[in-house]
Amino acid sequence: MTQARVGWLVAILLGGTLVASAPACIDEVVNPAPEAGVGGQGVGSSSTGAGGAGGEAPVKRTVLTRNPLGNVAVADNLLWDGDFEWLSAFADQYAWLAGNSTATIGYQLPRQVVGARCKSGVKCVELKPNAVVVGYAVSSKGSGLEASVHVRLDGDCAGVTAALVSLDDGDDLVGLAPKEKVGAFCRYEAVAKERSSATWLFVQNKSKEKVVVDDAVVRRAAQQPLAGTVAAGPSLSVAEVADVRRALREHARPMPRPMDEAERRFRAELERRRSE
């Protein structure tokens, strides 16, 4: 079942709870007019609480309900953590590399966002202009790949570049094409033919504003494509691709990010308590 369909089903059912007046199902009543720009189309429902007469008074805030574990409906996601729900402040080597540009990609953690700005679940990441995240996925033997990622941005979907990268020259660099913008989110998609090495989902903000990245999926393609889709949007320069591949190669080896003093002290105390 696709992400969008799950969201649709839940929304319908929440509406249904009104008609069926089954308060046991949820403690909030659906607001027929969710506030714009908060991703009401994400997994979950939007509402404004127990009053039931949404839309009459000026709405102070909208309340949403989502699966806090994110998009687990795609159980066969080949990305380590496509929804960023397992992004932790204590990860010294997280499954997404990050950088302020392609030249500075490393294990430093991407800027985390929590809450309704995300597309699905509770966590997602923010990219400043030119910033990059690169997510680690395994490929699939005997199967092509379908990839998608959602980005919240104010402007045109062309302001973000997304591509499948790998360390093997034999694997194509495949761009993810932007689809129509739904609500605040652009969805980028690609289909790639079978790949022989690990696949990395590259996302770079080439716009002038901050963007939010969430709900990325790499999964086996339903059928073996003859070729990957063509890269779209601002393409990657040869130098940028070289930067990315260098970073991926370096960080295949152990390369934990440096910790600041507060984190180091916390970890040392935790370790001491566990070992006592």
Partner: protein
């Protein structure tokens, strides 16, 4: 449709419904539950006392978009706040919730059995409720609390900083189950109920450490199972251990309470039997202090003085006391033997704790148990009832003796305690090495104590190989220590790395460059495809050859390698600390001494965490050597197998170190 319906219903369970939790009016204004026993939104009323009176007062700021009222609490990075909350004097269960904004934070409720110590912890996780202006609800449910047992602590910790509002505690059920029922170790089959684990002599409610069973149980279980199936890298461990891990996943499908569900996944990770794969720290573990810590360290050895009292086990090595602190040591001393724990061999017993202990790790190989021996002092104080020991002196050993673990007096409320580090070193041999064996991030170096000055035998004792550039971590200190070998004219070196905690390849490179001639060593490959299993030798060899050609192979050594004889001491060595002996082994001037092979953790790992309550690491690939083998799961064996002897420990001698010393002396024409 049925599954989606379930999403809504189960969400309602976690949300609790209006009766159990704050809700929102039609314009989105937050309203506390009318039935709450505690609420705090920083409006007007005086703040409740802090649970730590010495903590600095929290910063309350005005915020037009506060969730409730016009004020919120502001936490900076790595700041926390914990309020002391008095509840009605009756045992009942509560839903605890708090709203956060701006960054990941974790809520935690701590309670006490006797009003003094913090005995129970419940961690608050996101419920899925959030608002368009950035607020996220954290909660947990069915937390048993009894106001008659003293105030509870209700707090939030924010590693990246956050805004906090609307703390709330609402009764959500009745219970007759008294907290802290006495039990006699984790093997006690009569006292604790599902969701509890007998820890430190009481049935602790561990189901509060984890989130409720998720709405989409089947999807979540399949998703998590696929993380292991698709992503876990080491081939030998995939073949030997992944089937066992999947059995633990299977138990999640009809788990009846939260601990059984989530511990199913975390147990699956532990069953992968890999040093890089395991459970990271939980805020719940941070919140609870061991009331009965034991300051004694154990290691595997040869109880040559007491096999008449208790014969050697056919499967496991003997377990001996390596070193102890002055207090809380159960009267044990170096050389004493731990024969049985709750009737089982200590290693057999420790391995069985894999089911309940989040912190227990294992070697990546399948034949050594140094990690279990080192963990015994912690496991015993948590989960054991009785120990059977043989006490020894310089003259010999006595009869079998039984110790009741619960007879150890608990720490007083203000009693300070600091333990030895269990580092597999019965004795330290270089100047400045601390008596408490601490200093895991430090490097201690100098001419060996107890060796005549004219021998000029140098020693380096250290654990970590973490440095990213050579200029951070242990890089500068290790570089300086190596430089002293030459500059101070050492004739031989003991590299004591018996607790090698790993780091990066830049760490061992500092020693390789000094000690051995340059050669291509290994090629590490991150997992490529979800279906990949053990490659053939031919395929592995081809990969290695290609890596040499394209410069992606890792080299060990330098052109200017130094011929001074080097004895490398190993016992429990992981990751970069596996690579270190791998790169040294085979060089003419180097000899490895230890009881058995290193861990065999020839990979790296990625770290994932869920709201600071559950986190884990998973090995992400495997390492090839020149002949095409993959070596994760196979440690580096010592050149000379030396097992710590009871007769040596009891007489204050360090068997492994002395064997190395004898070899160095022989290399220099001296008498061993």
């Amino acid at each position: 449709m049925r599954r989606a319906t379930c999403i809504v219903i189960a969400s309602a369970v976690l949300h609790g419904g209006a009766a159990f939790a704050g809700s929102f009016t039609s314009d989105g204004t937050f309203a506390f539950s009318p039935f709450g026993s505690f609420r705090l939104d920083f409006e007007g009323e005086a703040l409740p006392p802090l649970s730590d009176p010495e903590a600095t007062a929290p910063e309350v700021v005005v915020a037009a978009d506060a969730l409730s009222g016009e004020h919120v609490l502001k936490l900076g990075a790595y700041e926390s706040v914990s309020f002391s909350v008095t509840l009605p004097p009756a045992l009942q269960t509560y839903r605890a919730s708090v709203w956060i904004r701006g960054g990941e934070a974790v809520g935690i409720v701590r309670s006490s059995y006797d009003g003094e110590r913090r005995d129970e912890a419940a961690v608050l996780y996101p419920t899925g409720r959030m608002t368009s202006d950035g607020w996220v609800e954290l909660a947990n449910v069915r937390i048993p609390l009894d106001g008659a047992r003293g105030p509870i602590a209700f707090g939030v910790f924010a590693p990246a900083g956050a805004e906090v509002d609307a703390f709330e505690l609402v009764k959500d059920g009745e219970t007759t189950r008294e907290p802290g029922r006495a039990c006699s170790g984790v093997s006690d089959t009569a006292s604790c109920v599902p969701g509890e684990v007998c820890t430190w002599g009481a049935c602790r409610r561990v189901s509060g450490w984890v989130p409720p069973i998720p709405d989409e149980r089947e999807s979540v279980t399949n998703y998590l199972e696929n993380r292991l199936e698709f992503l876990f890298g080491p081939y030998e461990n995939r073949a030997r251990d992944l089937p066992a891990a999947k059995v633990a996943i299977e138990a999640m499908r009809d788990a009846k309470e939260p601990w059984a569900f989530w511990n199913g996944f975390l147990l699956a990770l532990r069953r992968l039997h890999d040093s890089h794969t395991g459970i990271g720290g939980s805020i719940a573990e941070y919140a609870l202090r061991n009331p009965r810590p034991i300051d004694a360290c154990f290691l595997e050895g040869d109880a040559d003085w007491s096999h008449d009292v208790a014969p050697r086990d056919p499967l496991y090595r003997d377990v001996l006391v390596s070193h102890v602190g002055p207090l809380r040591n159960l009267g044990l001393r170096s050389g004493d033997r731990l024969v049985r724990v709750d009737g089982r061999h200590p290693i057999d017993w420790a391995r069985s704790m894999t089911d309940v202990s989040w912190s227990l790790g294992s070697a990546s190989n399948h034949s050594t148990f140094a990690e279990h021996a080192a963990a015994l002092r912690s496991l015993v104080s948590r989960y054991a009832r009785t120990l059977e020991v043989v006490r020894c002196s310089e003259q010999g050993c006595g009869a079998l003796e039984t110790i009741d673990v619960l007879s150890l007096e608990p720490l007083g409320p203000d009693e300070e305690f600091s333990s030895r580090l269990c580092d597999n070193r019965p004795l330290r041999h270089v100047p400045g090495a601390p008596d408490n064996h601490q200093g895991a991030e430090d490097v201690f170096a100098g001419f060996l104590e107890g060796s005549p000055a004219d021998e000029k035998l140098f020693g380096i004792e250290w654990d970590s190989l973490y440095t990213t550039t050579g200029q951070d971590g242990v890089g500068p200190a290790l570089g300086k220590a190596v430089a002293r070998i030459g500059s101070e004219g050492a004739t031989g070196v003991v590299l004591d790395h018996r607790r090698g905690t790993g780091g990066t390849l830049a760490g061992p490179s500092i020693l390789w460059s000094y000690a051995v001639k340059r050669r291509p060593l290994t090629f590490f490959e991150s997992r490529r495809r979800a279906e990949d299993e053990q490659p053939t030798l031919a395929d592995g060899k081809a990969l290695f050859t290609a890596a040499v050609a394209d410069g992606t192979v890792d080299y060990a050594g330098s052109k200017l390698a130094n011929p001074v004889p080097i004895a490398l001491l190993i016992t429990s060595d992981i990751s970069a600390s596996d690579w270190l002996p791998l790169g040294m082994k085979g060089a003419k001037n180097v000899r490895l001494f230890g009881p058995y092979e290193t861990s065999g953790a020839f990979s790296t790992r990625l770290a994932l965490g869920y709201w600071l309550g559950m986190s884990f690491t998973l090995a992400s690939g495997d390492t090839y050597v020149e002949d095409g083998r993959t070596i994760n799961g196979f440690g580096v064996p010592p050149d000379e197998v030396v097992v710590p002897r009871q007769s040596d420990l009891a007489r204050g001698r360090d068997t492994v170190f002395e064997a190395a010393l004898a070899w160095l002396r022989a290399q220099n024409g001296g008498t061993p």
